[in-house]
């Protein structure tokens, strides 16, 4: 077979190649076939919006030579061209799939220049292995793709991508390799974590991002110096096109954030199909998006139970997903459409047609498949349009591909000038109604042919009988079939269409009776038109892009105004020296509190809110929250010390629990890393700004930076199972030493970098250091882990330390003393009540559960009296939630402070009690100059309560953040009405469309979840149990007592560990 060409190629387009120095000489005859082709009389879609027709295209040697209305064959450049009749056909530039992940060989672990993490392989090259395997190329060709941007498929730094031809490889090696249009088109990145079960860093998105940051920094440093050693990091080029793969829009936003931090301007995102859920955030990012056509199937709303369980998000996603590409294009975002990521049950062209039916303009669709990917990947000079000099990559279609009513088929492709046959033009010569005559027996019947369906009809009206033929075969002018005869036998028939239009046939029965017959076409079948009308009625008005944030649930169309509000006639808990004011007013202006009092309120033009019978308090502050973090990861459990990771990289402002907490009066929260590690990640103080588009929009500007530390059972992995016994530390003894070790390193690092000023400092460590100016040995490379720790010593970052027992609490106090810094808070700090006199000297305070206990060994001595005892002993204490449930009723937690104080005879005023969830956490987070009390000049973060806020029978009725009323019972009512109406409309639409086919399993990603184990093949029962629990966490967040210890298989807790 070696030197035998496929017939189609022989006949159409033998290519004369310049001698390829990489190809072997021919082993035999050297073919040199003419390569000119003239496509005659086609409708030519030169580029999006520019159609010429009828027109001719001349190809030569794999390139487009000329495009014109008429090109005379046999003359000039068209001399010797094979003329292809393309009358009635449509020609498009070959499609380019901008993102085709391919298997690429991984570098050998430990080889020179490799990174310690197998996820960092920027040296990988998509061309190094098989490139684009023919099996994939064939699938692409069937869809109309002639070129592919191939990308290494896995890792964080994945390596470089290339744009290659999707042609079928040459059988003759002397004809050379398939063309590579751009060998180094892109660098690929993704947010791939290690599987949780491996325990390898990074297990979380924030770990991935931290690793990206450190790698970019290291690469930058190397680029600035001359190196002759080996390092894969030298393959990171800040000016290259960086393409980040994303499995949800949160990842897309993370990619944009990292790119902005490092000033990378040439960045594109491979989307998930869910971009419509975060349009505005992605719009401001403005990065090009490569969009997959992943559409969720219609939700099952066909029983009361399943309809009620269907979320509005699912319903709206079903309606909006087909318009995803259009929405992005409407916002001016460059969009390429990829065939990758398509669920198995879905077909590319079905979905593309759905997108067009949903309003995607044909020109935009064509651009997203041709010019946009060409431009993105830097191959516009060669690909994307039908213009002189470009590569002869063309699609020949039977009709307009982007007219969904036209029923067009791709007949063939030209790739590099070589024809690739895909389908025969539909043969309609037999279609129609025929009259059949059997002269010998004077018999007449009607015959209807539609494609390969042949039906005989006798009689009319009620007497009409039909007889359908089987085994129909049509080949050019020949026709054969099997039909049941009057005697009940199968008769075999063959016929041939003559040039006179008469079909002459013969039928033979099993009894060898031969009957000859003729048939004459009467005309077309009638039913066709009806079908077309039906299908037309399906297209509907294009939907408008969802606006506001978040998608679907309690959407804020536009952020409420920072107006002037005067709240009157209330009991105002100022949490200041003013105390609790009866019959008082609060004035809010432009986001700030500008006045508070109980003497006749000011006469000012303001929105008046009568609060008769109501109580007003400062917005509540939750100093321990993990809300919304579970999607991207709350713990980086891959290492014991992870001060380089930032919890800010995990926050999702769209999580519904933010709204629920806002409705409970919470306006600020400290977002904390979990407690899997002695030294965890950097914390983030946020305001509960419901309606934020980006995580950064929630950041509390100017809040003190912090970091999570943890002690005890979680960090020594006591409850992770018997197989987790090798990570240092495994005892409380080791917890102390690893902390001392890192602080020592961080102090040395901080002094060298000037993070810690070389002035005399308190702390025994510094008394052992050489005097200022006498340090030797240069500045070590920038290290994000040590940098964050040095900031602690410098006093620029507060430790919030998960802790239970008094011994470990005392231990950290002594470390702080030795390194001369003050601790922020002991989080949980359940036994701070045993050493309050020491803690108050070394920490701002304790931030506790009010009354949790009994869920594990180290919480045996937790008592609800701890807060009141600390209060009495002068240790400032706050109550936090550590739970998305509890965070909805923090006012009642303050009530518990009062209850257990009174029960114990500890003198505590109601105002003191409310301090536990307002002023005290504000002080502990160093945001008390802005929030925590109702005083002129502070932010207007307020909660209005139906009654005494310390009562568990009161509810929050309004919440202001930054002087914006983000929650009120009235606004909530409006949300409900809108959501109910939208549900009703969408459920009605689904019902209209009828029940989905059974077995049409939904393989799309529900919502935009991250699968931490996306690449596992076999799931054990254990893993499933864990993953169900993880799902609960994603949906509901933390629960009292289960954020780490009780309810999950213990040794799988790497991701969720806390409390």
């Amino acid at each position: 077979m070696n030197n035998v060409y496929p017939l189609a190629l022989m006949l159409s387009a033998g290519v004369t190649l310049a001698a390829d120095p990489l190809a072997p000489r021919p082993n035999g005859m050297q073919p040199s076939h003419p390569s000119r082709i003239l496509l005659d009389n086609a409708t030519v879609h030169i580029s999006p919006g520019n159609t010429l027709g009828p027109a001719d295209i001349l190809l030569d040697n794999g390139r487009i030579v000329r495009v014109a209305g008429v090109i005379e064959p046999g003359q000039g450049p068209a001399a010797g061209a094979k003329v292809v009749d393309a009358e009635g056909l449509h020609v498009y530039a070959g499609f380019i799939d901008a993102y085709v992940p391919v298997d690429t060989p991984a570098p050998t672990a430990g080889a020179p220049g490799t990174h310690w993490s197998a996820l960092i392989t920027p040296q990988r090259d998509a061309l190094a292995g098989d490139g684009l395997p023919e099996s994939d190329a064939k699938k692409l060709r069937a869809l109309g793709f002639t070129a592919a941007g191939i990308a290494p498929s896995s890792g964080v730094f994945r390596g470089s991508g290339a744009v290659v031809s999707a042609a079928e490889p040459h059988d003759d090696p002397s004809l050379g390799h398939l063309p590579v249009y751009h060998a180094d088109a892109s660098e690929h990145l993704g947010f791939e974590t290690s599987h949780w079960s491996s325990g390898n860093y990074p297990t979380s998105h924030m770990g991935v991002v931290a690793m990206m940051r450190q790698s970019f920094i290291d690469a930058e440093r190397r680029a600035g110096t001359s190196n002759t050693d080996a390092s894969c990091l030298d393959h990171i080029d800040p000016d290259a096109l960086m393409i980040y793969d994303s499995v949800n829009p949160l990842e897309a936003m993370l990619a944009d954030k990292v790119a902005r931090e490092f000033g990378h301007n040439n960045v594109a995102i491979v989307g998930s199909g869910n971009e419509f859920k975060r349009l505005e955030a992605l719009d401001t990012a403005g990065r090009a998006v490569i969009v997959p056509l992943v559409f969720p199937k219609a939700p099952d709303v066909f029983s009361v139970g399943s309809a009620d369980a269907t979320s509005l998000d699912d319903l709206m996603s079903w309606e909006h997903a087909p318009s995803n590409a259009r929405y992005l294009i409407e916002r001016g975002i460059p969009v390429s459409i990829t065939s990758s990521k398509l669920p198995k049950s879905q077909k590319f062209w079905d979905n593309l047609e759905k997108a067009i039916d949903a309003g995607l303009p044909a020109d935009d669709a064509l651009a997203a498949l041709t010019t946009a990917p060409a431009q993105l990947l830097g191959v516009s000079e060669q690909l994307g349009t039908i213009e002189q000099g470009k590569v002869a990559n063309l699609i020949i279609a039977s009709d307009d591909l982007f007219d969904t009513q036209a029923d067009a088929t791709i007949l063939s492709l030209y790739i590099d000038g070589r024809r690739h046959h895909l389908a025969d033009p539909e043969d309609t010569r037999f279609d129609g109604a025929w009259t059949v005559d059997v002269v010998s027996i004077d018999y007449r019947s009607r015959m209807e042919i539609q494609g390969e369906s042949i039906t005989f009809i006798e009689g009319t009206g009620e007497n009409e009988t039909t007889n359908t033929a089987r085994k129909v075969k049509i080949n050019e002018n020949s026709l054969s079939f099997v039909v049941e005869s009057a005697a009940g036998d199968d008769a075999i028939a063959s016929a041939k269409l003559g040039p006179d239009g008469v079909l002459r046939g013969t039928t033979i029965t099993p009894h060898q009776t031969i009957v000859e017959w003729t048939a004459i076409k009467d005309g077309p079948l009638e039913s066709n038109e009806q079908d077309k009308e039906d299908s037309q009625s399906e297209s509907t008005e294009p939907t408008n892009a969802p606006s506001g944030a978040p998608f679907a649930n309690y959407t804020v169309a536009e952020l409420p105004e920072q107006g002037v509000f005067l709240l009157t006639n209330a009991t105002v808990w100022t949490q200041s020296d003013e105390g609790i004011l009866e019959n008082a007013w609060v004035l809010v202006n432009n986001g700030k509190i500008t006045g508070v009092g109980n003497q006749g309120f000011p006469r000012i033009a303001a929105t008046m809110i009568d609060c008769t019978g109501k109580h007003i308090t400062p917005g509540l502050i939750d100093a321990h929250s993990h809300t919304s973090l579970f999607r991207l990861g709350v713990n980086e459990s891959g290492q014991a010390v992870t001060s380089e990771v930032r919890i800010a990289d995990s926050i999702d402002p769209a999580h519904i629990n933010w709204y629920r907490q806002l409705a409970g009066g919470v306006t600020s929260a400290l977002m904390l890393h979990g407690s899997a590690n002695p030294i965890g990640g950097q914390s983030q103080t946020v305001k509960v700004r419901w309606g934020s588009h980006k995580p950064e929009d929630m950041h509390f500007e100017g809040a003190a930076t912090g970091i999570k530390f943890a002690l005890g059972e979680n960090v020594k992995q006591s409850n992770w199972g018997d197989d987790r016994t090798t990570r240092y530390p495994q005892t409380r003894l080791g917890v102390e030493t690893i902390m001392r070790d890192r602080f020592t390193k961080a102090a040395e690092y901080g002094l060298a970098h000037g993070i810690i000023k070389d002035t005399p400092r308190s702390g025994s460590f510094f008394s052992t250091q050489p005097p200022a100016g006498s340090r030797t040995g240069g500045t070590p490379p920038r290290d994000l882990e040590l940098e964050a720790l040095a900031q602690i010593i410098a006093g620029d970052r507060l430790i919030h330390c998960h802790s239970y027992r008094q011994d470990e609490i005392l231990m950290l106090c002594r470390i702080a003393e030795d390194f001369g810094f003050t601790i922020g808070t002991f989080q949980h700090g359940l036994e701070t009540y045993k050493v309050a006199e020491i803690v108050r000297e070394h920490a701002i305070g304790a931030s506790m559960f009010s009354d949790w206990w009994a869920f594990k060994v180290e919480v045996q001595d937790a008592i609800p009296y701890a807060g009141p005892i600390n209060f009495e002993a002068g240790l400032m204490t706050s109550f936090n939630s550590d739970s998305d449930d509890l965070a909805r009723r923090m006012n009642a937690e303050a009530g518990k402070a009062l209850r257990y104080a009174l029960e114990s005879g500890i003198e505590m005023s109601p105002q003191d009690a409310l301090d536990f969830v307002t002023l005290n956490p504000a002080k502990q987070l160093r945001i008390d100059s802005r929030v925590g009390s109702i005083e002129p000049g502070k932010d207007a973060d307020l909660a209005v309560w139906s009654g005494n806020p310390l009562s568990s029978m009161s509810r929050c009725e309004r919440t202001f953040v930054d002087g914006r009323q983000l929650f009120s019972l009235e606004q909530d009512q409006q949300h409900r009405e809108r959501m109910r109406a939208e549900r009703a409309r969408l459920i009605a639409r689904v019902l209209e469309k009828g029940k989905p086919e059974p077995g049409d399993a939904d393989e799309t990603e529900p919502d935009d979840l991250v699968d931490p184990g996306a690449r596992t093949t076999r799931r054990s029962l254990l893993a499933q149990a864990y993953e169900r629990a993880l799902q609960e966490h994603i949906e509901h967040g933390t629960q009292p007592g289960d954020c780490g210890c009780n309810l999950l298989p213990r040794h799988l807790l790497g991701l969720e560990l806390d409390n």
Binding site: D722, F855, K856
Partner: protein
């Protein structure tokens, strides 16, 4: 209790062996009531439709005697030497709280395997009874008691039929002292009626069939128990089967003088509740729906079948992100308005049962009347556990199991002044109060106190 299936699966799979730690409480059980006690001057919430200001409640030998207004009753009373009058003016009296669904006594620290006695091996284990392993020295019991929880249902968990519930009092030397009703009903975990929407659960083509199979298993248990009872009645020498025997108390047509025990069916989802209610009606069983998240969707069905609902806490999340944010908080008010027979459990882990009244208070903040809120954790809970004749209200003849609180009994800032179980004055200290006192003494000795600001 939030996600029973998950929890059960997780626990069943957890093999970590941990050093047992013992929750041990050194509080002494109360001695029997000797004197007649008069509580005088409090605001009395009878949980039977009355609030009496300046009230008097008397009890003797563990039973409530007089209930009325102090100025009417007291002048007519002849006090004897052994009468103890306790002035509780300014306080409130209510029935002791009833934690209707708990694992109290069967677990100490959830993280310690040795301390988990609530999930027996096997899919159907109706033979096990909750009270049997209640640890009388559990530190958790006095802690819940200090906050007014004086009676609880002890429910084994896990599997299709986890076992039988018991009702216990929160004071006693032995399990037998604790037990009030050893066999209060059979517990069933109703299967999930729809294939999971959870992406992590692999969809399976036979999901529907498996659901039907689970229900058929339940049918078989009931039918077998019924046949077994009939056989034993006809021929007492029929070999005994303890598992089937343990199911006979929930069957219809109980022997004279014995009442038909309920089946407590854990069901949250609409489809589960509807299926469970119809299933129970089809077998003439007395169904109590436990969980009941979607119960407000089928109140007519529940009422027409006289099916009661135990709402396992309001501190739960709404079903969908687009559900009303306060969906779980308003469920009690919606059930009450619809006239469904219901009560409220905490839905909390055993150690947090003390916060039961906070659940009722949250429901009150969201539309339930304070009286209905109190009844939901007293009178109605007693009724649904089958103890309505003895417990749950402050009425003559009932057990003197009641609390005296410093404020409204549901108010979070209220604490207990006194508690009585069967007239016995119970110790309100516990391990936690002792730790408190110990460390307050430390600071007292050191002279440490807060600086007034």
């Amino acid at each position: 209790m939030k996600h029973p299936a998950t929890i059960a699966a997780a626990l069943a799979l957890t093999t970590a062996a941990l050093t047992p730690a013992f929750g041990q409480d050194l509080t002494h059980p109360a001695p029997p009531q000797e004197n007649t006690i008069f509580l005088v001057g409090a605001t009395l919430h009878t949980a039977a439709g009355q609030i009496i200001e300046n009230s008097v409640v008397s009890f003797a030998e563990g039973k409530i005697g007089i209930v009325g207004a102090a100025d009417e009753v007291m002048p007519r009373i002849l006090l004897t030497d052994d009468t103890e009058i306790i002035d509780v003016s300014g306080h409130h009296i209510s029935p002791g709280f009833i934690g209707s669904v708990t694992r109290l006594g069967l677990t100490e620290m959830a993280a310690v395997r040795a301390q988990r006695d609530f999930n027996e091996v096997g899919d159907a284990t109706p033979e096990v009874r909750g009270y049997v392993a209640v640890n009388p020295d559990s530190a958790l019991i006095p802690v819940a008691r200090t906050n007014g929880v004086l009676t609880v249902g002890v429910f084994p968990t896990g599997g299709l039929i986890p076992g039988r519930a018991s009702v216990i009092r929160m004071d006693g030397w032995t399990t037998e002292d604790h037990a009030i009703d050893r066999d209060a009903g059979v517990i069933i975990n109703w299967p999930r009626m729809r294939p999971s929407r959870n992406r992590f659960d692999q969809p399976s083509n036979d999901a529907e069939e498996r659901i039907q199979e689970r229900i058929a298993q339940l049918d078989a248990w009931i039918d077998n128990a019924s046949a077994y009872r009939e056989l034993r009645a006809a021929d007492p020498s029929t070999p005994a089967d303890l598992r089937l025997e343990s199911l006979t108390t929930v069957l219809p047509a109980q022997p004279r003088g014995q009442h038909q025990n309920p089946v407590f069916i854990n069901a949250d989802d609409y489809d589960q509740i509807v299926a469970a209610t119809n299933w129970a009606a089809g077998h003439d069983l007395n169904a109590v729906i436990v969980g009941g998240r979607d119960a407000a969707m089928c109140t007519d069905l529940l009422k027409s079948t006289d099916t009661a609902v135990i709402v396992t806490g309001v501190h739960r999340f709404p079903k969908r992100a687009d559900s009303d944010y306060d969906d779980a908080f308003t469920l009690p008010a919606r059930l009450e308005a619809a006239g469904v027979r219901w009560c409220l459990a905490s839905g909390a882990e055993a150690g947090h049962e003390r916060n039961l009244p906070d659940n009722a208070a949250m429901a009150v903040a969201h539309g339930l009347s304070p009286d209905a809120g109190l009844e939901a954790i007293t009178a109605h809970a007693a009724d649904i556990l089958g103890m309505g004749d003895e417990l749950g209200t402050v009425e003559p003849g009932k057990r003197a199991t009641l609390i005296v609180t410093t404020g409204h009994p549901l108010e979070i800032t209220s604490s207990l002044a006194h508690a009585f179980i069967d007239g016995r004055k119970v110790d309100l200290t516990n391990k936690q109060t002792k730790l408190r006192d110990k460390y307050r003494e430390k600071y007292d000795r050191l002279g440490i106190k807060r600086e007034e600001d």
